[in-house]
Symmetry: C2
Subunit: 104 residues, 2 copies
Amino acid sequence: MSHRTAPEHTHPDDVPVETALAALADPVRLSIVRELSTSEEWSRSCGTFDVPVGKAALSHHFAVLRAAGLVEQRDIGAKRVNRLRREEFEHRFPGLLALVLREE
Amino acid sequence: MSHRTAPEHTHPDDVPVETALAALADPVRLSIVRELSTSEEWSRSCGTFDVPVGKAALSHHFAVLRAAGLVEQRDIGAKRVNRLRREEFEHRFPGLLALVLREE
């Protein structure tokens, strides 16, 4: 696992609003975003989220979150750890994260 | 056409945030919402929107918009006319409509 390709990211500034909305319009991805919002940056590896999906599906959900500018990932040893791109995303789409986070 | 069933509506207060986001995460529906936002209430019938889809698909898109609390429809003679539920939707999801309308 430690030799895999580094994840590709999209900066929120380059994300169309439709892409951001679609990324957040899914219960699994919303769950991940909500869990990340209450976790320390880079403290959560991909396997630690409480979501009812398999490894391949989870990997797809993280790819969608990266492409929407919501999540940044970094490989540390065998672990891929995450942070919510809260400030950059808020700057691009003011109020959107707050809206989905308050709905828990 | 004038004897069809009246459209069913969902009030924004009863709409989950995922449903609202999914409704807006589509270029055709965004187009309809944007056109409605600059039109007088009840002035636009379903056939007057500049979107590249057939009648059945358009009918589906309007059903999604009604279910998300975004659009209200009323049958007047043979015409089904529309209004954006701007205030009710804004009350339920503050800032969300503004976010998608500014992105045109």
